[in-house]
Symmetry: C2
Subunit: 432 residues, 2 copies
């Protein structure tokens, strides 16, 4: 008999079926035992009346893996409207007493305990739902860009120079010489604009992040895109809008069960996400809060939240672009605003008042890149591989990057980004 | 005027249009200059008759980036049936003399020169086609498994113990202590079978590979899948077949232009890929070649090729599974054949006589894993994170892994796997 999944049971009322999964919990009454069996699609209650079988299953710990052959019986009060009667139970794997109590509607253990025991805690339906959202988001990101003529690329994570920021880079022993873990695919995705015009990559990036905060990880998944033949950063923002809309669509169409379980309110992505210039944002903040911020080179998190509320109030949008950040706070490859060169053609996308994405137009002329490096006291020789693309014709281009874990954390309102990472890595955590 | 792509030009015959791209080559006649403009969709010939413009463009190096406004004129002998007349040319970026001659139908430079100048050599249409195949293959892999209820996962690449093979692992400085780059997501994908039952991951893996051969890389992209509630490795092979069929479908539907340009003969994936047991394969090889191989623990490459020819001849298939490899050559987590425990429930998939994929059923009971480690002289304490999943109930399961670059190399009959890697990493190569 072929195994079926729990969500298929209602179609088999009145039949004998085989299901398999984990013993989520058992409840013992005087002459009955209820087994709650969990598979990746849901849970079903198994009624055990046979005294011999009651005695047999009594010793089973939660998370034992069972195969159950039984009759599907309608039961209006049961989840899914069915339960299983007259079971034959076969134990596929036994289990020790679990370190995490998966039977509660939500996990009660401290986050560090949950992470220490991730192989078990991740089995909780609410934890599974979080990572179903992540999978759906990444699929939606890819689908939206596939539809716009982008090509997916795979660029190296081991790199020969620690150039992009210098600090916070992991060093490894590469056949006896130093090499580094890529902090982003920035240089490679720009290079690949010269090849495919429009590219994206979804993959790990690495930061030797000295901060131990709820927002920082040593390794995370970056959703990166880069596009050629743009006029300026407003063109890039249109692609950024499409990719975020694709992520929301991906969640809506591929992870509706997770959205329901977590009782999420999915955001609407407006056709035109409101854009506010950095200096205009500062004026709004000064007028609205009384805080003196004009002239500062960046926005404080509290002021990003204020701008998020402003966008909600004035534009009815969960999303708002802040564009034109001062050049001093942006990396060397950032394209300046031709009209006001102290400001940049770059942007952040705020989602519900929190930074979700950073992007912008890049320099595309070789001599501009060399001059920008020199102005920051950097030696162009250290960037020879990157600069080769620019010596041989690069179109005006730009791109953006989204941290997958950060996006999911915003969506589920997780207090700590570790809650949206399967096996997080930080200053102190390297296992499991 | 909105830029259009070259492949859209035939729909605009008789109109003024704007295109943009790279100057692939220019040919000067006495009173005319032909510019061949390349974008990511194709090439178009631009006819320059204006003496001033002829003089202006004469100084442009190949790979200069141009925007061209011109009239679309039918020209039966031209590629796509159109060419561009009366152009207005704007130079977006100039270029230096290229280190690679992209104008030839195929690159003539040595592979090492091509790789040294990857930012330029990758722009060649034949090189682009190779990586269009890679993108289509990975998309097809994901689509086939999405359709079978698999969940995509993202597991860490920095790991705390060098357990899986010990040798050939990269060591990095992780906040003052050693950590390692993951050689595969093996342990994590197995752990995640306990969470989602069916999972896949597409991402980089790292091998400090001491061999400098045409088949080895220090970093490559692994397409990994793992599935729970299998009966044995034959169930796993059915999923493996679906994923390979998905990859071929992906190439067929998403990269038909690349297939045409490279004149590839795509393989048919039979509904049932032939399976031959390892010991039976040895008997066939002995009978067919006279070589004494029975009793050897593995197949030599020449004998894999022979089995590939046998499968082609006897079953009309480019693919053949060799199943039941001796346990001694398989990792500790391999499930033995219950009937003949010196053989394993594992398999290789050969494609045109070359190993494409390795997979098998895994141990799923905690005590079996502990015993298997002990039998190999390993301390179970070093595997505590991995083993936790098994202490708390794991179903019978198995999985497989495909090297993306190796697959594409087989498809295009590349002599060196570096030809199917954007920016390869090996013992000596760390840039670009």
């Amino acid at each position: 008999m072929q195994r079926i999944h729990v969500h298929e049971l209602p179609q088999h009322e009145g039949e004998r079926v085989r299901v398999a999964g984990w013993l989520h919990l058992q409840r013992r009454l005087s002459r009955l035992t209820f087994l709650l069996l969990r598979d990746c699609t849901g849970m079903v209650q198994v009624i055990v009346e046979n005294p011999g079988l009651i005695a047999e299953v009594a010793s089973l710990q939660p998370e034992s893996v069972l195969e159950v052959e039984a009759s599907v019986v309608g039961a209006t009060q049961a989840p899914g409207g069915v339960e299983l009667h007259e079971p034959i139970v076969r134990v596929l794997s036994t289990a020790e007493a679990p370190p995490i109590d998966l039977r509660r509607p939500a996990l009660k253990e401290q986050l560090s305990t949950q992470l220490d025991h991730a192989p078990v805690s991740l089995r909780h339906p609410r934890r599974r739902a979080v990572f179903a959202l992540a999978a759906a988001s990444i699929a939606g990101f890819r689908a939206s860009l596939d539809g716009l003529g982008f090509t997916e690329i795979q660029t190296p994570k081991i790199v020969g120079s620690a150039t992009e920021s210098g600090a916070d880079v992991f060093v490894l022993d590469y056949f006896g010489r130093p090499a580094y873990l890529a902090q982003s695919p920035q240089f490679y995705k720009q290079t690949m604009v010269g090849v495919f015009e429009r590219v994206y990559e979804t993959g790990p990036v690495f930061r030797a992040e000295p901060h131990d905060t709820p927002r920082h990880l040593a390794e995370y998944v970056s959703l990166d895109a880069e596009v050629g033949f743009v006029h300026d950063h407003f063109d890039v923002m249109r692609f950024a809008r499409e990719s975020v809309a694709g992520m929301v669509d991906g969640v809506r169409t591929r992870a509706d069960a997770a959205v329901g379980l977590l009782e999420l309110q999915l955001p609407e992505v407006p056709e035109e996400i409101p854009v506010v210039h950095f200096s205009q944002a500062q004026q709004l903040i000064e007028a609205g809060t009384g805080d003196r911020v004009c002239g500062e080179p960046d926005l404080a998190p509290a002021h990003e939240r204020w701008i998020g509320q402003w966008a909600r109030r004035e534009h009815g949008s969960d999303f708002v672009f802040v564009a034109g950040y001062p050049m001093v706070k942006r990396p060397f490859y950032t394209h300046p605003d031709p009209a006001r060169p102290e400001f940049s053609n770059s942007f952040d996308l705020l989602f519900r008042g929190l930074e979700l994405m950073t992007g912008g137009q890049r320099l595309h002329r070789y001599e501009d890149s060399v001059a920008a490096l020199a102005a920051r006291g950097e030696r162009p020789e250290a960037y020879v591989g990157y600069l080769e693309a620019f010596r041989h014709g690069m179109p005006p281009h730009g791109g953006f990057a989204i941290g997958l874990e950060r996006w999911v954390a915003r969506l589920v309102e997780a207090a700590n980004i570790r809650e949206t990472t399967l096996f997080p890595r930080d200053r102190t955590r390297l296992a499991p």
